[in-house]
Symmetry: C2
Subunit: 223 residues, 2 copies
DNA sequence: TAGATTGTTAATCGATTAACAATC
DNA sequence: TAGATTGTTAATCGATTAACAATC
């Protein structure tokens, strides 16, 4: 499609896009990549929705926030839609990412293959344990937290993952903001205060389990 | 409060509670525990909301799904509200949990202190690597995946964490369902097909970073 | 052409916010 | 009592679904 109509300056968002739409976009991308792996060249809103438990209308409406990507009567070319969604999400490039905190979780995430496969590469790790400084983990150099601003600047890092204990998280976040970081993925079980110009995503692993126990305890017909 | 009116059979949910409400409940709980740590005995909907960026009305409405927990003119007793929310979420008890997959992520989660602090203890780990079987990690015994059903039954496990590669996840999920598991927290980057009577929560770490890159790329006044 | 599926508008549904009587 | 804050209803807002003309 890639129409050249008066719509909007590509990849800037015209209206305010609901957060839920962006989450689903990531899910569409994941399923599309799966479809391609399974040698599907085409798909359509009904199929894509069914894979994720959404209606066809929802799929089309979500995509309509960003432009026209399909072919009436035909559906969507998987590769084309993948490219379009990657562009929307900003993962048509590779993002250098900082990892802060090298406890169990931080180290595990450093090894996580799923990041590089989807456009993120961790290019520097930070800790306060002097024993770890200078070390190479998975080929990634470990710096002292005091060198955060410098390394962030030199390596052009814009996103950071926070995997430090809750008590240390806000102080780290402040340092990251001071270093010019633009987005923080926070695994510490606290609500980080960040200025408006810094984006924030929080993942609290215990909360995810709580959602599960709630669902199990309060399952319909299961008091 | 603990009123004894005709409302509902405690801890079963009267109406359908939106998923978003349950997520916020977990956030309220986290902030309340923080408040108690900071020696606050009381709070109110305005304060609790402000800590998380919600309106006071939202806090009160969310709680109203489950009963009456506050004191008009006064606010909420932190400890009392904590107990009430724990009961709603089902974390007023301790849940034995199974960990499936002992790659980097699985091992890291095994060590994660945040789980036990919030009512979940991992009591068994499963892998297919025979080298790991019988091993004790953090005092947790490692079993072969073939023994899943038996161990789940013996230990009364109802929740499982899936931390295996995407390609193996659905097969594991099927085994878990067959073993009688009631809820699955899935870290594999795939959409698991589960029967309706099994609850599912998915965390895709790469997707969380995608949400962040979207926010950074499409930030208002930042094309 | 007939059949299929998109993009989009209108209708529906659900969730958030505002307002306020009841309560302490 | 006056002031504060709840629980709850009504009003608003936003998101999802249905429907259909346009398109291939």
């Amino acid at each position: 499609m890639e129409d050249s109509r008066e719509k909007q300056p590509q990849s800037a968002v015209e209206a305010n896009v609901p957060q839920a739409v962006v989450s689903r976009l990531s899910l569409y991308l994941r399923e599309l990549q799966r479809l391609v792996q399974d040698c599907h060249a085409m798909t359509n809103s009904t199929q894509l929705g069914a894979l994720l438990g959404f209606t066809d209308a929802q799929v089309r409406k979500d995509l309509a926030y960003f432009g026209q990507f399909g072919y009436p009567g035909i559906g969507y070319r998987c590769e084309e839609l993948i490219a379009a969604i990657k562009k929307i999400l900003g993962t048509d490039r590779s993002w250098p990412v900082a990892m802060v905190g090298l406890g169990n979780l931080g180290r595990a995430l450093l090894h996580y293959r799923g990041f590089s496969q989807r456009g993120f590469r961790i290019v520097a790790a930070f800790d306060i344990d002097v024993d770890k400084i200078g070390e190479l983990v998975e080929g990634i150099e470990v710096f002292h937290r005091d060198d955060l601003a410098e390394v962030v600047a030199v390596k052009g890092i814009r996103l950071a993952i926070v995997a430090v204990p809750g008590a240390a998280a806000q102080a780290i976040a402040d340092s990251l903001v001071a270093a010019g970081i633009e987005g923080v993925l926070n695994f510490a079980p606290v609500t980080l205060a960040l200025p408006d110009h810094v984006s924030r995503v929080g993942v609290d692993l215990a909360i995810e389990l709580e959602q599960l126990s709630f669902a199990v305890v309060n399952r319909p017909e299961n008091p």
